[in-house]
């Protein structure tokens, strides 16, 4: 790409594109945006809990990251707090400060700034192209691995336990099963059980609203239990008052010590940035068929980067596009970023006006939502489709196992490596079709000829040095110097032994 083309691409992508305003169906977008707002509130509270921040930070993230991402992007992708990123943010900062302490909040917000900067750097380096090589099986593996992580991280909340620190996810289940009678709070378990069961029962019939209904049912159950038996006896954790501000301005603290910590967590910051972009771009790719406007991956990378960079200045942690909320928005007819903008504004309005009502929302119901979201991410149909393929199957399974046992960061690295590996394997595959035409052997080559894919052809041509061969290279898009050298060498060898090698090329 020329320098001028590069500059022009940056300019067009960084300028908000409002061409969608001409074709927008405002009523449909409004409806889809409002549904999205109702959908994101329990998730935002849950994800803030996952990050280890007070619930209002999740709401801020839903409002501001969602707003910026929709303003600068031009797809109906819904931005905001994201499961995998939330888990990674928490895991990254946990060693440096106590969960939820002021220092912890400072670190998380500063880390989000770094994530935004890395994403903008990826945008400047035109990195969006790279994400196209991410294998869908690997992404799906990460998604389902995250679903598994969500279910395990919901264990404590659903049963009313203090957070358990274990190395592997199954240890948690072991602890709970081994000493359930001592540690499980039956009232909390009742509330979360009712939330999860009602959610699962309604999932098939009301795929868009089942989470909201489930949290309502669980919330009312919890409120009744607390109301009749008292807070002390049930010991159900309540959400508490959310001090929601409409403009929570905040300047992330930067000092030498903070920067040292950021330096230490830089690899994780890269992982979080890549994870966020990977998810957002997969969604954007998916949306290409649905929307009328032109989807530009570079623009989405820019939107995500700016949203995450600006977010911490209004108390938001890093987020990305959301699979589940985008699919609901699209299924309700959203075609433009307007639905995302409306959702962000509606979240702010709802949180600001109905905040006091949320005070008595029992946390076991919120943890039940966490489990429901996790269960929703494990899609059996998709898994079966990947498992049928001999390449996608192993990629998928290995990614899930890595995420489950070695954590998200390792899972991401494995996913990148496997995608790359299978991409290279696919590229270097060369098909040889041999036909015997009146004593002349004709070899039709299909695929790229380069240093890694030469072996089969070289072996075949070298077997009968005296033969007469016509090498048809019309279906070879790329042929590197080592391939040319090989062909030249074989030509010479044939001449010595009285054979012939003729090459037919496309031009």
């Amino acid at each position: 790409m020329s320098l001028r083309g590069y500059a022009r691409a940056l300019l067009t992508e960084s300028r908000p594109d409002f061409s969608w305003t001409r074709t927008v169906n405002a009523r449909r977008e409004m409806l889809s945006g409002l549904t999205g707002a109702a959908l994101v509130i329990p998730q935002a509270i849950t994800f803030a809990y996952l990050v280890g921040l007070p619930p209002e930070y999740g709401l801020y993230c839903a409002v501001f990251v969602g707003f910026f991402a929709s303003l600068l992007g031009n797809t109906p992708m819904v931005g905001g707090p994201n499961t995998a990123m939330s888990i990674l943010l928490a895991l990254t900062i946990m060693p440096f400060a106590g969960r939820g302490s002021p220092l912890y909040i400072d670190y998380v917000l500063l880390l989000s700034v770094v994530v935004g900067l890395i994403q903008l750097l990826i945008w400047l380096l035109r990195g969006a192209e790279l994400f196209r090589y991410f294998s869908p099986a690997a992404i799906s593996g990460i998604k389902m691995g995250v679903g598994l992580l969500l279910i395990t991280s919901a264990v404590e909340g659903t049963l009313g336990l203090a957070p358990l620190t274990t190395q592997f996810f199954y240890e948690k289940f072991y602890i709970v099963i081994a000493s359930w009678s001592d540690i499980v709070n039956p009232y909390a378990a009742t509330v979360s059980g009712i939330t999860i069961v009602s959610g699962l029962l309604m999932r098939k019939r009301f795929p868009r609203t089942y989470i909201i209904t489930a949290v309502l049912i669980g919330g009312i159950t919890g409120a009744l239990l607390v109301g009749v038996l008292g807070l002390v006896r049930t010991d159900i954790e309540l959400l508490g008052r959310i001090p929601f501000e409409l403009l929570p301005l905040r300047v992330p603290t930067v000092s030498a010590e903070y920067l040292l910590v950021m330096q230490e967590v830089f690899p994780s910051a890269v992982a979080i940035a890549v994870l966020g972009l990977a998810q957002s771009l997969v969604i954007a790719q998916d949306l290409k068929g649905h929307v009328k406007t032109q989807v530009s991956l570079g623009r989405e990378v820019f939107a995500q980067g700016v949203a995450n960079l600006a977010g911490p200045f209004v108390s938001s942690f890093a987020g990305s596009g959301s699979f589940n909320r985008t699919s609901v928005a699209v299924s309700m007819g959203a075609m433009t970023p307007l639905s995302g903008l409306i959702a962000a504004i509606a979240v702010a309005a709802i949180a600001w006006s109905l905040g006091p009502l949320l005070t008595y929302l029992p946390m076991p119901a919120v943890a039940g939502v966490l489990a429901l979201v996790g269960i929703g991410m494990i899609q059996v149909g998709e898994a079966r489709r990947f498992l049928r393929s001999s390449i996608d199957g192993p990629v998928f399974v290995i990614t899930i196992l890595t995420v489950a046992f070695l954590g998200l960061k390792a899972g991401l690295a494995i996913a990148v490596l496997l995608s790359l590996g299978f991409f290279i394997a696919g590229v270097s595959k060369v098909a040889l079709v041999m036909v015997d035409q009146d004593g002349v052997e004709r070899i039709q080559v299909t695929g790229n000829l380069f240093y890694a894919s030469l072996d089969a052809l070289a072996h075949h041509l070298g077997e009968h040095p005296g033969a007469n061969t016509l090498l048809d290279l019309t279906r070879v898009p790329y042929c590197d110097s080592s391939a040319l050298a090989m062909i030249e060498a074989i030509k010479r060898e044939r001449l010595e032994h009285g054979g012939r090698l003729e090459v037919v090329t496309a031009d």
Partner: protein, 274 residues
Amino acid sequence: MMGMRKILLSLFVIGTLVGYSLSAIARPTIEELQARDFLDDYESNIVYGYNIVMETERYAARYVGNKLRCTNCHLNGGTTPDAFPLNVAGLYPQWRSKNGVRNGIVLRIRECFLYSHNGVLPPDHAPEVLAVAAYINYLSEGEVIGERPPGGGVPTIPDTGFDPNPARGEVVYKRACVVCHGADGAGTSVAPPLWGPDSYNAGAGMNRIDKSAGFIWANMPLGQGHSLSHQEALDVAAFVKLQLRPFDPREGRLAKLAERIWHRITSLFGKEQP
């Protein structure tokens, strides 16, 4: 020359040791901590805990249900003797008759949010609770473990020979308290509410006459402690206790509400007898 160097070296070593031990003993003040540009996890929690104690409704908004601050009873951020000072980390865990279990400092703090702040019970691991615990730990540095620091809690009012009399208490209230706390007990800009929806609930320690009378006698009116007589303190404490305030959260609020409505329906009080 050799001797000079030896003296200098030993002076240096002694100086280092003295400086080190001094720095270990000297506790930085909250202002010093706030002025530093970097605090580690413990120190930042101390400052956070101090902020919660001083401005509870702002820094621990999530769990607070009324307009009281910790420092309204734990005067001056829990540093005043005879006003529930907070240098008590060494006394916990202890058994308390209030809940009949062994109480760690965390459970003790959580119950303050539930009763005195009439809020929701925070979980064990709530950052707000841990921050207040860090602040209490900081205030308790240098205290003896298991020994009650002098001036702990509030003084016990000696037996005056008379029962607390709320009617006389009302007179005392109107004379000495009403200026700051208001006629309706809802507080003013200089003093916290004493009853009504924005005050502590019926389960709080302050709702016990012995505790509140001791506190009032030692500290009230603010800045003129010990100016009321023992009997006046008991009377005014009884008067305040009789006012309407949020329920004790140990009973379910819905159950209590239903009970009150049922009593209202079935009560013969104020009705004409047949």
